[in-house]
């Protein structure tokens, strides 16, 4: 089936344009325990929750320009929970002194027929992976420590293989654009995690 021509429109998320402020880092599995311990102390006093998610990355290739990328994610531990469809924009270029990566972000909760729907729309799955780990919260800050695994047989999430010997640490917050106090807050939080993990703003484009 020939993909229909696509015009990529700027995406706006509802009335308020939400931005994701992101810092990333990685921690070796040996140091994971102490990092979790530290996070437990720093974050809001609720028990850290375990999660197991399956993420599918869909691409819509148009005639010209960059392909349009959507991330669909579902929880393996909570099968009844709605799927999560996410669009992430390009990182904002701008203030170099800003401490966090800022990008446009649209979050949609979706029903379980999301993969079929995306397929019907012409999206094709690019890759998939399984992320398992802990999720913490400190106010509006979200800290996700996850271990990424490769899915060996497409669609079978039981048969996985760890991608590396380390875990991904992400510190993110959703806020309306222009809230630079947020990035300041994130920086100070990231400062407290040193030297266990160095959270930095990592431009995904540079690593492609």
């Amino acid at each position: 089936m020939e993909a229909p021509p696509v015009s990529v429109m700027p995406v706006t998320g509802g009335t308020i344009n939400m931005m994701e402020y992101l810092l990333q880092g990685s921690v070796l599995d040996q140091a994971l325990e102490s990092l979790l311990h530290r996070l437990r102390g720093l974050c809001d006093n609720m028990e850290p929750e375990l999660f197991a998610d399956h993420e599918l990355v869909y691409l819509l290739k148009g005639q010209q320009g960059n392909p349009f990328l959507l991330r669909a994610r579902r929880s393996l531990s909570h099968p009844t929970a709605p799927w999560h469809l996410r669009y992430l924009g390009q990182p904002e270029v701008g203030d170099k002194s800003r401490h966090a990566l800022v990008r446009n972000c649209v979050d949609v909760a979706a029903s379980h027929s999301l993969p079929d729907f995306l397929n019907e729309m012409g999206f094709r799955m690019d890759h998939e992976f399984v992320a398992k780990g802990h999720i913490f919260r400190r106010g509006a800050l979200k800290v996700v420590v996850s271990k990424l695994s490769r899915v060996l047989v497409p669609g079978n999430t039981d048969n996985t293989e760890p991608l590396s010997l380390s875990s991904l640490v992400e510190l993110s917050v959703l806020a309306p654009a222009g809230q630079d106090t947020m990035s300041e807050e994130m920086r100070s939080f990231a400062e407290q995690l040193k030297p266990l993990v160095h959270l930095e703003k990592i431009d995904p484009k540079r690593h492609m």
């Binding site: 399956h54 799927w83 979050d107 959703l174």
Partner: protein, 645 residues
């Protein structure tokens, strides 16, 4: 001192001050140690030419100690000059020199001997063996002794200083340790963090789910303003806390219900009286302080929440927020006031103020419930924040995330939105409490006013905050077993009272006091008639007619009159009772026709069988009857009318 020949000019300079004793193989020069003063003296004395003349000699000897240095220098230079240059002049110089020196020595010896002999200028004393000790003058000895004593003293002083320093350090260490242990104890109970060189703590309820914007930070201070030498006071604590000034003192929320509206001038000036925080034994002063501050913070949060709601909520009679008081009208003519009492200074300690509020003014239950509601609210905010699954999803209510995929309609979404606020809940509770107390008062006043029939109320101990129930029994004294007709279950809600009859009828009464009173009065009047019915059964009388609501007779203002007619077992007598809540009871007895004397003998009914016709009614002067209550009187009456077998 130029040379002899004009062609050669030699310039002379003195050699180095110290003479070289020997030069070792590695080139190291060993110097002759400088002469001590006595040696110098001896050396100089050697050079004196005693032969030159006694006058000059005497002067020279005396002058020697005065300025030996200067004198020695010039002499030495001259000496050296002769020593250096004469060898080149005369070949016999050494012989001459030796001769000369021996001559000099001889002369000196001679002079010395002559001087000693004369004893005019000099006396010889035996020389002590120790040259330095013997030759050191007493002044020097003294000075050196003083010096060594001083060094000894200095050493001792240094030691003492070190000792005292270590003692102080010890004490300091101990205090430091105390501080650290106190800090540890503080840490186990309060949230602390280090910012710069300060230790800040958090006494807010934010971690428990509070959204109150007050930072609620306190600072931990090391208590050092105490003199080390003095004995530590009893309540000394090395750790002190500095709480924000607006959280100092004590505070509480006062809730009260007043009947009449106070003057508008009184608004917002709630009398404060300070409740002294009672320190439990064994608790640290900082703990008491922090707990008090936390309580103030919670009270402030409650009040802020209530005032915000009071302004936002639309009600028929708007809530008034004035200063530290919120006034609401739950029922007409009734006023609920919630006030924040915060006393800071010690000057508020005048407890014996003339207008000290009466203890019953407080609604402690509501005050307690307010705190409880606030905590519930905290818990709700905390528990509503569940971690999102999948992890990439944003924080938020799970049900709100479900709304899209599950296609919720407007009603379902709006049901997610808002639950009742704190103020609404507390007003409802206040209404209920008020309604309950008024019901109790109504029942009590009826019970005390009306002795017959008796009214009993059984309150249930366990209540909901919005509902409680009471069982009302109407009985006659002494006949509790047979008169169980009226049992009412009163369910007191927020706005109304639901009455459940024994037979299952449900009546709803409003919050008006009169309604309940009227209802109970009508029930009591019905009870009497019911009691007669029950009594008739026991006594073997027959019920001829019974009606709870009689349509005849005068109209009652409350409810309806009820009536019963019973006939004796042989049918000769009949008793008819009409009882109204307002008109009271009226008892009539019907006699058999034969017994009525005043009935004119009719010509028509001559036959004996007509004797069984019912006769006329006669009213009983009920108040003149014997008996302590209605049923007893009735029993007596029935007994009197029952024929003896």
């Amino acid at each position: 001192m130029s040379g002899v020949g004009p062609a050669v000019r030699v310039s002379i300079e003195s050699t180095c001050e110290k003479q070289v004793q020997e030069v070792s193989l590695d080139g190291m020069e060993t110097y002759v140690p400088p002469l001590s003063m006595s040696q110098n003296l001896a050396k100089l004395a050697q050079r004196i030419d005693f032969g030159q003349g006694s006058d000059s000699d005497e002067e020279g000897v005396e002058a020697e100690p005065r300025d030996p240095q200067e004198w020695g220098k010039t002499e030495a230079e001259e000496d050296e000059a002769t020593v250096k240059f004469q060898p080149s002049l005369w070949p016999w110089d050494s012989v001459r020199n030796n001769l000369r020196s021996s001559l000099t020595e001889m002369c000196v010896l001679y002079d010395v001997l002559s001087v000693v002999k004369e004893k005019k200028y000099m006396a010889l004393d035996p020389v002590s063996q120790d040259p330095s000790a013997g030759k050191t003058p007493q002044v020097f000895q003294l000075i050196s002794k003083k010096k060594s004593l001083a060094t000894a003293a200095q050493l001792l002083l240094k030691g003492a200083e070190k000792l005292s320093k270590s003692v102080a350090e010890n004490q300091e260490n101990r205090r430091q340790r105390d501080f650290n242990s106190e800090l540890l104890r503080l840490r186990s109970q309060w949230k602390l963090r280090k910012v710069g060189d300060k230790i800040l703590g958090d006494l807010s309820y934010r971690s428990a789910g509070s959204l109150f914007p007050h930072p609620g930070t306190f600072e931990v201070i090391k208590n050092t303003d105490i003199n080390l030498d003095k004995k530590l006071p009893e309540d000394y604590c090395p750790l002190n806390v500095q709480i924000p000034s607006d959280l100092e003192g004590s505070a509480y929320i006062k809730v009260s219900i007043q009947k009449q509206a106070p003057d508008i001038g009184d608004l917002g000036t709630v009398n404060l009286f300070r409740r002294q925080p009672k320190a439990k034994a064994g608790t640290q002063p900082w703990h008491v302080k922090l707990e008090a501050a936390q309580n103030v913070l919670l009270c402030k949060e409650i009040f802020a929440q209530l005032s915000r709601e009071a302004v936002q909520i639309k009600s028929q009679i708007p809530h008034i927020v004035v200063k530290n008081q919120i006034i609401s009208q739950p029922f007409p003519g009734l006023q609920l006031s919630i006030s924040l009492c915060h006393s800071t200074g010690e000057k508020k300690n005048q407890r014996a103020s003339p207008e000290k509020p009466k203890p019953d003014d407080h609604l402690y239950v509501l005050e307690h419930n307010l705190h409880q509601l606030m905590r519930e609210f905290h818990k709700q905010t905390l528990s509503s924040i569940v971690m999102p699954h999948p992890a990439s999803a944003p924080f938020g209510h799970k049900r709100q995330r479900m709304a899209g995929p599950m296609a919720y309609d407007k009603a379902e979404i709006s049901s997610l939105q808002q639950n009742e606020g704190l103020l609404e809940k507390i007003i409802k509770q206040a209404k209920h409490i008020f309604l309950r107390s008024r019901t109790a008062r109504t029942i009590d006043s009826l019970a005390s006013r009306i002795e017959d029939p008796q009214i009993q109320a059984h309150w249930s101990n366990i209540n909901d905050v919005y509902e409680s129930s009471v069982k009302v029994l109407i009985t006659s004294q002494g006949y509790e077993q047979i008169c169980k007709s009226i049992q009412l279950q009163l369910n007191i809600g927020v706005e109304q009272i639901r009455v459940v009859h024994r037979d299952g009828r449900v009546i709803s009464l409003s919050h008006q006091e009169q309604e309940l009173q009227d209802f109970l009065l009508s029930q009591m009047s019905q009870h009497q008639v019911h009691a007669v019915q029950q009594l008739a059964k026991v006594m073997g009388w027959h019920v001829l007619s019974f009606s709870n609501h009689v349509g005849l007779g005068s109209v009652e203002s409350i409810g309806n009159a009820s009536a019963i007619t019973v006939a004796s077992s042989n049918g000769e007598y009949a008793i008819s009772v009409r009882n109204g809540p307002e008109s009271g009871c009226k008892v009539l007895v019907q006699f058999p026709r034969s017994q009525s004397k005043e009935l004119p003998k009719s010509d028509v009914i001559q036959d004996g069988k007509w004797n069984h016709l019912r006769g006329p009614y006669k009213e009983v002067h009920w108040s003149k009857m014997e008996g302590r209550n209605f049923v007893y009187k009735m029993e007596l009456l029935m007994a009197a009318l029952t024929p003896c077998l």
